[in-house]
Protein backbone atom coordinates (compact mmCIF):
# COMPACT_ATOMS: atom_id res chain seq x y z
CA UNK A 1 0.00 0.00 0.00
CA UNK A 2 1.20 3.46 -0.82
CA UNK A 3 1.60 6.18 1.77
CA UNK A 4 -0.77 9.04 0.98
CA UNK A 5 -0.92 12.54 2.42
CA UNK A 6 -4.08 14.64 2.24
CA UNK A 7 -4.71 18.15 3.52
CA UNK A 8 -8.28 18.90 4.53
CA UNK A 9 -9.63 22.45 4.48
CA UNK A 10 -12.84 24.32 5.17
CA UNK A 11 -14.83 26.42 2.67
CA UNK A 12 -12.70 29.48 3.52
CA UNK A 13 -9.57 27.55 2.61
CA UNK A 14 -8.34 27.23 6.18
CA UNK A 15 -6.48 23.98 6.73
CA UNK A 16 -8.18 21.81 9.32
CA UNK A 17 -6.00 18.72 9.43
CA UNK A 18 -3.51 16.63 7.50
CA UNK A 19 -3.86 12.91 6.93
CA UNK A 20 -0.90 10.68 6.37
CA UNK A 21 -1.51 6.98 5.86
CA UNK A 22 -2.66 4.18 3.62
CA UNK A 23 -6.43 4.53 3.84
CA UNK A 24 -7.32 7.85 2.22
CA UNK A 25 -10.79 6.69 1.25
CA UNK A 26 -11.72 6.13 4.88
CA UNK A 27 -10.45 9.58 5.80
CA UNK A 28 -12.21 11.44 3.03
CA UNK A 29 -15.39 9.72 4.11
CA UNK A 30 -14.89 10.50 7.78
CA UNK A 31 -14.07 14.13 7.00
CA UNK A 32 -16.66 14.53 4.27
CA UNK A 33 -17.57 18.06 5.40
CA UNK A 34 -14.14 19.23 4.28
CA UNK A 35 -12.57 19.42 0.85
CA UNK A 36 -9.04 18.16 0.44
CA UNK A 37 -5.94 18.40 -1.70
CA UNK A 38 -3.12 15.97 -2.04
CA UNK A 39 0.02 16.73 -0.11
CA UNK A 40 0.98 17.96 3.34
CA UNK A 41 0.41 21.65 4.04
CA UNK A 42 0.52 23.34 7.46
CA UNK A 43 -2.19 25.74 8.55
CA UNK A 44 0.45 28.05 10.01
CA UNK A 45 2.00 28.70 6.61
CA UNK A 46 -0.55 27.81 3.90
CA UNK A 47 -4.19 27.95 2.98
CA UNK A 48 -6.13 26.61 0.02
CA UNK A 49 -7.25 29.04 -2.65
CA UNK A 50 -9.38 27.74 -5.53
CA UNK A 51 -8.19 24.23 -4.79
CA UNK A 52 -4.53 25.20 -4.79
CA UNK A 53 -2.25 25.49 -1.75
CA UNK A 54 -0.77 28.95 -1.43
CA UNK A 55 1.31 30.66 1.24
CA UNK A 56 -0.58 32.81 3.73
CA UNK A 57 0.24 36.46 3.16
CA UNK A 58 1.78 38.69 5.81
CA UNK A 59 -0.37 41.51 7.13
CA UNK A 60 0.24 45.13 6.23
CA UNK A 61 -0.62 46.03 9.83
CA UNK A 62 1.86 48.44 11.40
CA UNK A 63 2.36 50.62 14.49
CA UNK A 64 3.55 54.21 14.65
CA UNK A 65 5.65 53.49 17.77
CA UNK A 66 6.41 50.81 20.35
CA UNK A 67 6.82 53.02 23.44
CA UNK A 68 3.81 54.54 25.12
CA UNK A 69 3.18 56.75 28.12
CA UNK A 70 0.73 54.88 30.35
CA UNK A 71 -1.41 57.92 31.05
CA UNK A 72 -4.53 57.04 29.09
CA UNK A 73 -3.89 59.98 26.79
CA UNK A 74 -0.91 58.89 24.72
CA UNK A 75 -1.96 56.41 22.03
CA UNK A 76 -0.33 53.87 19.75
CA UNK A 77 -1.77 54.03 16.26
CA UNK A 78 -2.44 50.68 14.64
CA UNK A 79 -2.67 51.18 10.88
CA UNK A 80 -3.45 49.11 7.78
CA UNK A 81 -5.20 46.35 9.72
CA UNK A 82 -7.29 44.04 7.52
CA UNK A 83 -11.01 44.70 7.53
CA UNK A 84 -12.90 43.20 10.49
CA UNK A 85 -9.79 41.66 11.97
CA UNK A 86 -9.65 40.41 15.55
CA UNK A 87 -7.55 42.69 17.75
CA UNK A 88 -6.26 41.83 21.21
CA UNK A 89 -3.93 43.63 23.59
CA UNK A 90 -2.60 41.57 26.50
CA UNK A 91 -0.50 42.67 29.44
CA UNK A 92 2.41 40.25 29.55
CA UNK A 93 2.79 40.61 33.32
CA UNK A 94 -0.80 40.41 34.54
CA UNK A 95 -2.51 38.67 31.64
CA UNK A 96 -5.15 41.43 31.47
CA UNK A 97 -6.56 41.62 28.00
CA UNK A 98 -8.78 43.79 25.83
CA UNK A 99 -10.08 42.97 22.39
CA UNK A 100 -12.51 43.63 19.59
CA UNK A 101 -12.74 44.10 15.86
CA UNK A 102 -10.43 46.41 13.99
CA UNK A 103 -10.48 47.70 10.41
CA UNK A 104 -7.83 49.92 8.91
CA UNK A 105 -6.64 52.40 11.52
CA UNK A 106 -7.37 52.47 15.25
CA UNK A 107 -5.64 53.35 18.51
CA UNK A 108 -4.60 51.69 21.75
CA UNK A 109 -4.02 53.47 25.04
CA UNK A 110 -3.55 52.28 28.60
CA UNK A 111 -3.21 53.57 32.12
CA UNK A 112 -1.51 50.35 33.18
CA UNK A 113 2.28 50.30 32.73
CA UNK A 114 4.05 47.22 31.46
CA UNK A 115 4.71 45.23 28.33
CA UNK A 116 1.64 44.81 26.13
CA UNK A 117 1.38 42.29 23.31
CA UNK A 118 -0.78 43.59 20.47
CA UNK A 119 -2.11 40.96 18.10
CA UNK A 120 -4.22 41.18 14.93
CA UNK A 121 -5.71 38.09 13.32
CA UNK A 122 -7.59 37.83 10.07
CA UNK A 123 -7.58 34.74 7.89
CA UNK A 124 -5.90 34.11 5.48
CA UNK A 125 -3.27 36.58 6.70
CA UNK A 126 -0.63 35.33 9.07
CA UNK A 127 -1.18 36.61 12.62
CA UNK A 128 0.52 39.93 13.32
CA UNK A 129 2.10 40.69 16.70
CA UNK A 130 4.06 43.53 18.24
CA UNK A 131 5.08 44.21 21.82
CA UNK A 132 4.90 47.73 23.19
CA UNK A 133 6.29 49.14 26.41
CA UNK A 134 3.95 51.36 28.40
CA UNK A 135 5.73 53.42 31.07
Amino acid sequence: MMQVELTFYDPAGEIMCVYSGQNPEGQTEALSEYAWVEGHYECGTHYILAGEPVERPTQPTALDKTDLVADGVDVVVIAHAPSNAAFTAQNLETGERIGGLISGTDTFSTVVPGMWLLRVEKFPYLPWEETINAV
Binding site: D71, G72, V73, I98, T110, V111, P113
Partner: protein, 133 residues
Amino acid sequence: MPFEITRPLEQLQNEAQARIDALAGQARLKYISTSPGQDATYTAKLKDAEAYVAAGYPTDASAYKWIMTEATHTQMTPVQVANRIIAAANLWITVGAEIEGARQAAKVAIKVATTVADIRAAEQLFNTVVRDL
Protein backbone atom coordinates in the same frame (compact mmCIF):
# COMPACT_ATOMS: atom_id res chain seq x y z
CA MET B 1 -13.40 52.17 18.28
CA PRO B 2 -10.30 53.05 20.31
CA PHE B 3 -9.01 50.27 22.53
CA GLU B 4 -8.49 51.70 26.00
CA ILE B 5 -7.31 50.15 29.24
CA THR B 6 -8.74 52.33 31.98
CA ARG B 7 -8.94 52.29 35.79
CA PRO B 8 -10.46 54.48 38.50
CA LEU B 9 -7.89 57.06 39.61
CA GLU B 10 -7.87 55.72 43.17
CA GLN B 11 -6.91 52.25 41.96
CA LEU B 12 -4.10 53.69 39.84
CA GLN B 13 -2.86 55.62 42.85
CA ASN B 14 -2.80 52.47 44.98
CA GLU B 15 -1.03 50.47 42.28
CA ALA B 16 1.53 53.21 41.72
CA GLN B 17 2.25 53.49 45.44
CA ALA B 18 2.79 49.75 45.63
CA ARG B 19 5.24 49.96 42.73
CA ILE B 20 7.09 52.79 44.51
CA ASP B 21 7.45 50.67 47.66
CA ALA B 22 8.62 47.66 45.65
CA LEU B 23 11.16 49.69 43.72
CA ALA B 24 12.41 51.32 46.90
CA GLY B 25 12.96 47.83 48.30
CA GLN B 26 14.90 46.82 45.20
CA ALA B 27 17.02 49.96 45.44
CA ARG B 28 17.84 49.25 49.09
CA LEU B 29 18.94 45.73 48.22
CA LYS B 30 21.82 47.19 46.23
CA TYR B 31 23.28 48.37 49.54
CA ILE B 32 22.04 46.01 52.22
CA SER B 33 21.53 42.29 52.68
CA THR B 34 18.29 40.86 53.98
CA SER B 35 19.50 37.36 54.82
CA PRO B 36 18.37 36.09 58.24
CA GLY B 37 20.30 37.68 61.09
CA GLN B 38 22.25 40.03 58.83
CA ASP B 39 20.57 43.15 60.14
CA ALA B 40 21.42 42.25 63.74
CA THR B 41 24.95 41.40 62.65
CA TYR B 42 25.46 44.77 60.96
CA THR B 43 24.06 46.56 64.00
CA ALA B 44 26.40 44.70 66.35
CA LYS B 45 29.40 45.27 64.09
CA LEU B 46 28.71 48.96 63.83
CA LYS B 47 28.34 49.28 67.58
CA ASP B 48 31.63 47.45 68.05
CA ALA B 49 33.38 49.58 65.43
CA GLU B 50 32.13 52.82 66.92
CA ALA B 51 33.30 51.75 70.37
CA TYR B 52 36.68 50.76 68.97
CA VAL B 53 37.09 54.12 67.26
CA ALA B 54 35.86 56.01 70.33
CA ALA B 55 38.51 54.19 72.37
CA GLY B 56 41.17 55.57 70.04
CA TYR B 57 41.89 52.44 67.94
CA PRO B 58 43.61 50.46 70.76
CA THR B 59 46.40 48.15 69.61
CA ASP B 60 44.86 45.33 71.62
CA ALA B 61 41.47 44.91 69.96
CA SER B 62 40.55 41.70 71.77
CA ALA B 63 37.77 43.47 73.70
CA TYR B 64 36.04 44.18 70.39
CA LYS B 65 34.93 40.74 69.36
CA TRP B 66 33.37 41.59 65.97
CA ILE B 67 36.32 43.72 64.90
CA MET B 68 38.96 41.30 66.08
CA THR B 69 37.34 38.23 64.55
CA GLU B 70 36.76 39.85 61.19
CA ALA B 71 40.30 41.19 61.14
CA THR B 72 41.65 37.70 61.83
CA HIS B 73 39.62 36.12 59.04
CA THR B 74 40.21 38.79 56.42
CA GLN B 75 43.89 39.49 57.04
CA MET B 76 43.03 43.13 57.67
CA THR B 77 44.01 45.19 60.69
CA PRO B 78 41.38 46.04 63.31
CA VAL B 79 41.72 49.67 62.25
CA GLN B 80 40.94 48.82 58.64
CA VAL B 81 37.98 46.67 59.65
CA ALA B 82 36.51 49.32 61.93
CA ASN B 83 36.94 52.07 59.34
CA ARG B 84 35.39 49.93 56.63
CA ILE B 85 32.36 49.10 58.77
CA ILE B 86 31.79 52.75 59.61
CA ALA B 87 32.25 53.84 55.99
CA ALA B 88 29.71 51.27 54.83
CA ALA B 89 27.26 52.40 57.49
CA ASN B 90 27.70 56.03 56.49
CA LEU B 91 27.12 55.16 52.84
CA TRP B 92 23.95 53.35 53.77
CA ILE B 93 22.74 56.29 55.86
CA THR B 94 23.23 58.60 52.88
CA VAL B 95 21.68 56.30 50.29
CA GLY B 96 18.97 54.95 52.56
CA ALA B 97 17.86 58.46 53.47
CA GLU B 98 17.84 59.46 49.81
CA ILE B 99 15.68 56.48 48.90
CA GLU B 100 13.31 57.11 51.77
CA GLY B 101 13.00 60.80 51.02
CA ALA B 102 12.27 60.12 47.36
CA ARG B 103 9.82 57.37 48.30
CA GLN B 104 7.87 59.63 50.64
CA ALA B 105 7.83 62.46 48.11
CA ALA B 106 6.59 60.17 45.36
CA LYS B 107 3.85 58.69 47.51
CA VAL B 108 2.61 62.13 48.53
CA ALA B 109 2.66 63.30 44.91
CA ILE B 110 0.73 60.22 43.84
CA LYS B 111 -1.79 60.64 46.64
CA VAL B 112 -2.64 64.21 45.63
CA ALA B 113 -2.53 63.50 41.87
CA THR B 114 -5.67 64.42 40.00
CA THR B 115 -4.67 62.92 36.64
CA VAL B 116 -2.98 59.76 35.46
CA ALA B 117 -0.25 61.93 33.95
CA ASP B 118 0.52 63.32 37.43
CA ILE B 119 0.86 59.78 38.77
CA ARG B 120 3.19 58.74 35.95
CA ALA B 121 5.29 61.87 36.38
CA ALA B 122 5.74 61.13 40.08
CA GLU B 123 6.67 57.53 39.34
CA GLN B 124 9.13 58.49 36.64
CA LEU B 125 10.80 61.06 38.88
CA PHE B 126 11.20 58.43 41.58
CA ASN B 127 12.53 55.91 39.07
CA THR B 128 15.12 58.42 37.91
CA VAL B 129 16.26 59.19 41.46
CA VAL B 130 16.75 55.58 42.52
CA ARG B 131 18.27 54.56 39.19
CA ASP B 132 20.96 57.19 39.59
CA LEU B 133 21.87 56.21 43.16
